[in-house]
């Protein structure tokens, strides 16, 4: 059994090495590099925004069907977190 498993892994690995070349060429295009790096550059802003989004999710009473917030003391600030 293990030998069959190893064979399967090896053929898979060889097949994958074949796509690596064209893929690397595509990713090294200046345009693609610029888009990927540029989107990475907005990451700090997005993650800090997401942090406030999480606080909004925890504090807003309008989320869900119960009409109660998950963490009630955050409720007065909820609209500020979102806005």
């Amino acid at each position: 059994m293990p030998s069959i498993k190893m064979k399967f892994f090896d053929t898979m690995e060889n097949k994958m090495q074949k796509i690596t070349g064209p893929m690397a060429r595509f990713s090294n295009l200046k345009v693609v590099q610029a888009i990927v790096n540029g989107l990475m550059g907005t990451m700090p802003i997005i993650l800090s925004g997401a942090f406030f989004m999480i606080l909004y999710v925890l504090g807003s009473p309008s989320i869900g069907t119960s009409g109660k917030a998950l963490i009630p003391f955050l409720t007065p600030l909820a609209s500020n977190f979102y806005g």
């Binding site: 888009i35 989107l39 907005t42 997005i46 406030f52 999480i54 500020n80």
Partner: protein, 345 residues
Amino acid sequence: MNTLTLSFMSLYASFTMATYYGASLDLDKLSSGTIGIATFLVFTLGGLDKSGGIEITAFSSNGLFVAIITSIFSVRVLWIFKKYNIGIKMPASVPPAIGKSFSALLPVLASIIVAWFIRSICNFDLVTFLNTVCQPFVSSSENIWTAMLVVFITLLLWSCGLHGDGIFLGLFTPFGLQWLDQNAKLVAKGVSSTQLPHVLAGLGNTGLIRMTVWTAAVWPLVIFMLISKNKFLKKLGVTAGIPAIFTIVEPVIYGLPIALNPYLIIPFVFSGTISTGVGYLLMSSPWMGKFFVAIPWATPQFLLGPLGTGDIKTILIVIISFVIGLLCYLPFWPIYVKSLEKKAE
């Protein structure tokens, strides 16, 4: 806070993408960034509205595709002007900061005029145009194949290193909201949440697809990283795992990376697509609740179902999606770890 950061994503991205593109073409970084942001604004806004405000839909991830086009176009304009040496030249005695901004004057003018001509004179709005192009494709067919195709294309974009949610999935937000609204109206009339007509309600930002895709395509990887013996993978698993619970998947996709990683792309694309298909079948069955409340996208998946549908049984979809994801990644993960070890040697 959230609107000014997340919903202004395209605005920030049009600056950063233009800066990086300009740097790779040996242009002045600051000029590239400013020309990118200026062209994006002119191309999307077309002026102020009557009360003096601006329309911000294009700044959100809906406009990301447009931001990519405008920043690449404008930096290319800058590059053409530099190549053919067109521009206002200042004598050498002028400080470089002033000289640079003067040499960027003509390209900025040219780029802005082109954008203004298309947007304001021809009155062509690319963001709305893309939405209307997708309209017949989506609104006519809310079925399992649409759901799977949308997820497939989105994940394919992610695996090329592009922000799939922003570029493609975001285009469907108007339809998702419309369906959500129709569902909500029916609930208000007293229809039970299991009998609602729209299974894909909330497509784009929330709803069924958010419950299935990242559960299947990212969570198994986090678990694998956490139990891995490799130190780098373990550390990444801890740091990327916490945002991943809140469906913020960029750290895993760009950090591991999944993007342009030949070993993981195949399970990444297929796990999400298959789990969406299975999730759709489950949710369309008459004993499962459908979405009628708009839930912000950063809600953890296991809360998304009960909160958005009022039906605790929807957690089943999340569990099944996770198992599908695990099964998809199982044959591929050891090969990837092995290739990492080989690289380390």
